[in-house]
């Protein structure tokens, strides 16, 4: 008998489902009950579809009883960021502009998740069009941080993060153009991976910036992120950016020794370029000690200044986002929330030369990082420079004022994993580290992240409101 199935990891729940000690219906019902208890406080969903979820859970249960267990995601409740198209269910980008938009088809990755047997419980709130938030002028309020509901979840995959941390679902999709999987994962205590650019199809996902957008999973553990990524991956010939590469077994190397792996510490990113808060700095030093105790070699590497990556990323993102939204911003600006409207509109002030120069600088930065990674298996820095801020005090132009510590891996396209590295003593808010790997070396990143997670006890703690 499982006392609270919502707090199981995907791996644990999957094992119990496969041995018929846990029913997908029982698990889905528990997640629905958790949602009904907490969603008024956390505002995670923009479209909650419990009836559809229960129907899918019953079908999964029948299939498993008949002896067909599809794999680790079969019967596992998950939710989708509301920029992933779902056939017959509105996909709005959390914007009034698209509030009545109902796609005819699932996004490629959503179809893959359904094939894996995952149970989709609904659509999660996001920063509007994955850029504007936290906003209080949209059709539902912004998601709140379950570790302290007066704080932001980070963005833009905000509802996804709050829901996973509280067991409303066991995993969720996010998207990441400048850090939108890794920032909320960091601030809500999750494991979230932005995979290599091109590993996952983005077809059927509302774009923000096509050359920087990445899809990816957000879960409670690194192992769960590997399992969910497996279900989402596969070549899509209809996404021109999707790489035709073999998909490895992402969880296959978890647990293998990491002794001898070399980790490049980008100390200047979090100590000088964007000085992290003391608890984050302490967490990184503690993580270095953990990796050394596991037999890893940790050495410092120097990359170009963080602000160079931020400038390239923001100019490309703003230009591409403006090109997408230009017509609607002119015709119906009142349908956008203030923050998304203003952030996207700023792209209209850039020139063609700005965009081309950013592309050229991007190529140079990619070369510099590739050179720094010679002999290095993974890079290490902060997941977020600070714990979660008060939700009503996030500056509109923050991304321009302080360089993002996640953007370098959007600019370079490298896989990057944010994972919990402890809790601020005073507030109990999560802090996080970030591990980045070589292109398509997700298995190495997962292996290191999992080894760190196993050597620490951060996964034993859940948000206090679950005890209330």
């Amino acid at each position: 008998m499982v006392s609270d199935p919502t707090l199981l990891t995907i791996r644990e729940a999957s094992t119990l489902i496969a041995t018929r000690e846990l029913s997908p219906v029982e698990l889905t019902q528990a997640c629905i009950a958790r949602t009904e208890a907490l969603d008024a406080t956390l505002s995670t969903y923009v479209a909650f579809t419990p009836e559809q979820a229960l129907d899918a859970a019953k079908a999964a249960e029948a299939e498993i009883r008949a002896g067909h267990h599809r794999g680790p995601m079969h019967g596992i409740p998950i939710g989708l960021k509301d920029i992933y198209d779902t056939a017959g269910v509105a996909t709005t980008g959390h914007s009034r502009l698209l509030q009545s938009r109902v796609p005819a088809e699932d996004a490629f990755t959503v179809a893959k998740l359904r094939e894996s047997g995952a149970i989709i419980t609904g659509k999660f709130g996001t920063y509007e069009f994955a850029i504007g938030g936290p906003s209080f002028d949209l059709f539902t309020p912004p998601a709140r941080n379950p570790w302290d509901p007066s704080r932001t979840t980070g963005g833009s995959s905000s509802g996804s993060a709050a829901a996973v941390a509280t067991g409303m679902v066991l995993g969720a999709t996010g998207s990441d153009t400048g850090g939108s999987i890794r920032s909320p994962s960091s601030l809500c205590g999750l494991a979230g991976i932005k995979p290599t650019y091109g590993l996952l199809s983005r077809r059927g996902i509302l774009p923000l910036s096509q050359s920087l957008d990445h899809a990816g999973p957000m879960c409670w553990t690194v192992e769960d992120a590997a399992l969910m990524l497996q279900a989402m991956a596969g070549h899509d010939p209809l996404d021109p950016a999707c790489a035709n590469v073999a998909v490895p077994d992402f969880a296959g190397t978890l647990g293998a020794p990491v002794k001898g792996k070399t980790i490049g510490l980008i100390r200047h990113f979090h100590e000088t370029d964007h000085e992290a808060a003391p608890p984050v700095l302490a967490a990184i030093e503690a993580a270095i000690a953990v990796f050394r105790s596991l037999g890893c070699v940790v050495k410092e590497v120097t990359l170009p200044p963080l602000m160079d990556f931020a400038a390239v990323g923001l100019i490309i993102m703003s230009s591409e986002a403006f090109a997408i939204h230009e017509a609607d911003l002119r015709a119906t600006p009142e349908l956008y929330g203030e923050i998304a409207r203003d952030r996207i509109s700023l792209g209209g002030l850039l020139t063609g030369a700005d965009y081309v120069q950013a592309l050229r600088r991007r190529r140079e930065l990619c070369a510099a990082v590739a050179e720094a990674m010679i002999g290095v298996d993974a890079l290490l820095t902060a997941g977020s420079p600070f714990p979660a801020q008060p939700i009503d005090q996030v500056p509109k132009w923050l991304m321009y004022q302080k360089p993002s510590i996640t953007m370098p891996f959007n600019v370079t396209g490298l896989p990057a994993l944010a994972l919990c590295a402890g809790y601020e003593e005073k507030t109990g808010l999560p802090v996080a580290i970030q591990l980045a790997g070589r292109p398509f070396a997700e298995t190495t990143v997962f292996q290191l992240g999992h080894a760190y997670e196993q050597a620490t006890d951060w996964r034993a703690r859940r948000p206090g409101l679950l005890a209330a």
Binding site: P240, D308, A310, A311, D342, G348, L349, L350, R360, W397
Partner: protein
């Protein structure tokens, strides 16, 4: 390279190119934010020769290449 906008009139002229209808308050806010763009666009420009690798290249669409 763009130069910082000093006045509301200059900002209005720049914004006219975007086709937006904005209030004076919005124009003032964009003027402030535009400073960040100026900083960033300066940062990405370096000494590059005419022959430097152009990062943006043309590629045939997959369907075209498959024919």
């Amino acid at each position: 390279m763009p130069t910082p906008i000093a006045s509301e009139a200059e900002m209005s002229a720049l914004l006219a190119r975007t086709g937006f209808q904005l209030t004076p308050e919005q124009i003032a806010e964009y003027a402030q934010a535009y400073g960040y763009i100026v900083e960033m666009s300066a940062r990405i420009r370096g000494e590059r020769s005419y022959m430097a690798e152009p990062a943006h290249v043309f590629g045939f669409p997959n369907e075209e290449a498959a024919r």
